[in-house]
C-alpha cells in the first residue's frame, strides 16, 4: 500500500481530513443547501414557502430558451475543442522531449493567464476593426467588416482558446499511456492513418476525452466573463441571467432557481459524458 504518511500503515487518521471536510460542510455544502431553499422562497427574506420562482422560470419560453442555449453552447465548445485538441495531442505524443516541453508551455500559458485577459484579447481580434476583419479585407474576401462580436460564432471561437487547455491536459495524459506498438501494428497490417486513428487511438483515448469534455462543458456553460463581454446584451446565457436577477433586479428566489438549474444542467452534462465513456468501453 502506498502512502501511509503520518500514522501507522493501514490505519486511517480521520483527524487529518477533518479540517478540509468541516470547511466544505460549513462553507460549501451549507451555502448550496441555502441556495436550494431560497429557490422555494416567496421573497428575499424567506417569509413564506412558494413555488412561485420555479413557475415563473419554467413557465416562460424565453427562460427555457436561455437554458437550451447555455447547454448547447457547452456542447459546441466541447466539439470545437475536441477537433483541435486531438491533432495537438497526437503531435505531442509524436514529439521529442524539447518539443513536448514547448507544447506544454503553449498549453499552460493561456490557462494561467486571467480569463478576463483572454476575453479581452478576443475583443481585439474579433472587433469590427480587429485582426480578423482587417485580414479578410486585405485579402479582398469581404468589403464590409463582419460582425463577430455579439455572435455565437465569435463566442465559440473565444471559448475554444479559453477551454482548450482543459481538454488537452487530460487527453495528453491518457494518450501518452497508449502503447505506440498498437498503432504500429495497425499500420503494418495495412490500416490507413485514418483507420488507425479511429479504430485504435480514438477508442483508447476515451477516458482522457471524457475528463476533458467534462471540464470544458462545465467551464463553457458557466463562463460568465466571456459570455457577457463577447455575447454582449444580445446573447443571454444562464450565468448573465443569474447575475442580473441577483444583483440588478434583486429577485433572489428567481436567481436561485436559475442557479440551481445551471447546477443541474452541468451535473447532467457531466453524468452524460461519463455514461458515454462507459458505453464506449464496453463496446
Amino acid at each position: 500500500m502506498a502512502g501511509a504518511a503520518l500514522s501507522e500503515p493501514g490505519r486511517v487518521d480521520w483527524r487529518l481530513a477533518a479540517p478540509l471536510g468541516l470547511t466544505y460542510l460549513a462553507f460549501f455544502a451549507a451555502p448550496l443547501i441555502i441556495l436550494l431553499a431560497m429557490s422555494f422562497a416567496a421573497d428575499d427574506f424567506f417569509t413564506a414557502f412558494s413555488f412561485h420562482a420555479w413557475i415563473d422560470f419554467w413557465g416562460d419560453s424565453f427562460y427555457r430558451g436561455v437554458v437550451y442555449d447555455t447547454v448547447r453552447l457547452g456542447l459546441v465548445a466541447v466539439i470545437a475543442t475536441s477537433l483541435m485538441a486531438y491533432p495537438i495531442a497526437l503531435l505531442f505524443v509524436a514529439s521529442g522531449p524539447r518539443m513536448r516541453k514547448l507544447l506544454i508551455f503553449i498549453i499552460l500559458l493561456p490557462l494561467l493567464i486571467s480569463v478576463v485577459i483572454r476575453t479581452f484579447a478576443w475583443i481585439a481580434i474579433l472587433a469590427r476593426e480587429g485582426v480578423v476583419n482587417q485580414t479578410l479585407i486585405a485579402l479582398g474576401l469581404t468589403s464590409t467588416p463582419l460582425n463577430l462580436l455579439q455572435t455565437e460564432l465569435g463566442l465559440v471561437i473565444a471559448l475554444s482558446q479559453i477551454e482548450m487547455p482543459l481538454m488537452l491536459l487530460p487527453l495528453i495524459t491518457v494518450m501518452q499511456q497508449i502503447d505506440p506498438s498498437l498503432s504500429d501494428a495497425s499500420r503494418a497490417l495495412g490500416g490507413s492513418k485514418w483507420r488507425t486513428f479511429f479504430k485504435v487511438t480514438l477508442p483508447l483515448s476515451i477516458p482522457g476525452w471524457i475528463a476533458g469534455a467534462t471540464l470544458v462543458f462545465a467551464s463553457a456553460t458557466t463562463a460568465f466573463i466571456s459570455q457577457s463581454i463577447i455575447g454582449g446584451a444580445r446573447l443571454v446565457y444562464l450565468p448573465s441571467l443569474i447575475w442580473q436577477q441577483a444583483m440588478v433586479v434583486y429577485n433572489w428566489p428567481f436567481a436561485a432557481v436559475a442557479s440551481v438549474t445551471l447546477l443541474v444542467a452541468v451535473l447532467a452534462g457531466v453524468t452524460l459524458f461519463s455514461l458515454l465513456g462507459r458505453f464506449a468501453r464496453t463496446d
Binding site: L6, M84, P87, I117, A188, L215, T222
Partner: protein
Amino acid sequence: MAKRRSTPSDLSYSFVMGGLAALGIAILIGPVLIVLLTSFTSSQALQFPPPGFSLEWYRSLFDPVQSGHIHTALANSLWVAAVATAFACVIATAAALAMAQIRGARARALEASFMSPLILPGLSYGLATLMFFAILGFRPSLNHLIIGHLVVIAPFVFRTTLASLSQFNPALLESSASLGATRLYAFRRITLPFIAPGIAAGAFLAFVASMDNVPVSLFLSSARTNMLPIRMWGMMETTLDVRVAAISGALIVIVLVLMIIMDRLTGLTRRMSAG
C-alpha cells in the same frame, strides 16, 4: 519499418490533422501575443496592429492618481490569494495524507467530493455564498472572500499532493520508526520533503486560480473590497479602456516569469507532460 508509399488517404490525414493542430496552436498562443503587443500602442483606441508604440498606458497604469482603484483591487486580490492559498496548503495537504491511506469505493467517493468545487458551476456557488453570508448578517469584507476562495482553490493542492503521495514508499516510514523516529519527526524529515514539490505546484495553481476567480468575487466583493478581475471586467464593460491591455501585458509577463520559476522548482512542465 519499411518506408511506405503515401496513399491519398494518408495524405489527407496528415493535411487535416496538421492543419487543425496548427489552427489550435495559433488560437492558443495568438491572443496572448496580440494583447502583449497591443499594450504598447500609442493609440487611444484598441486596435491591432498598433499605429505606433509607446509606454503611455503603462505609465498611466502605474500612476497612483489615475489608477488608484486598480492598485487597491490588485492589493485586495493579492492578499486574498495569499491567505486563501496558505490555508488551502495546510488543510488540503492534511486531507490528502488521510486519503492516501484508504482505497476502494469509499476513497473514490471522498476524493470526488473533495474535488467537486472544480466541477460545480462557480457562479451557482458564488450566489450561494452571498445568500449564506447575508443570512448570517454579512458585512462585505475580505475575510468572506478568503473563505469563498479557499473552498474553490483547495482542490488544486489536494490533487497535486495526493498525486505525489501515490509515488511515496511507506517502507521509508517503517524504517524510520524502527530507528526510533517519532511520527512527527518522520513526517517533517521524510514525507514533507518528498511531497513538497507537489504541494508547491498545487499552491501555484491555487494562487493563480484565486487571482483569476470571478464567480465568487463577483458576488462577495463590494466597492471597498473590489477584486482585480472584477475591476477589469468593469473597465471592459463600460469603456474599452486601453489600460486593460497594459494590466494584461504586465500580468502576462508576471505569469511567464512565475512559470519559469515554478518549472525550475517543481518541474511543473515535466509533471504535466509526464502524465
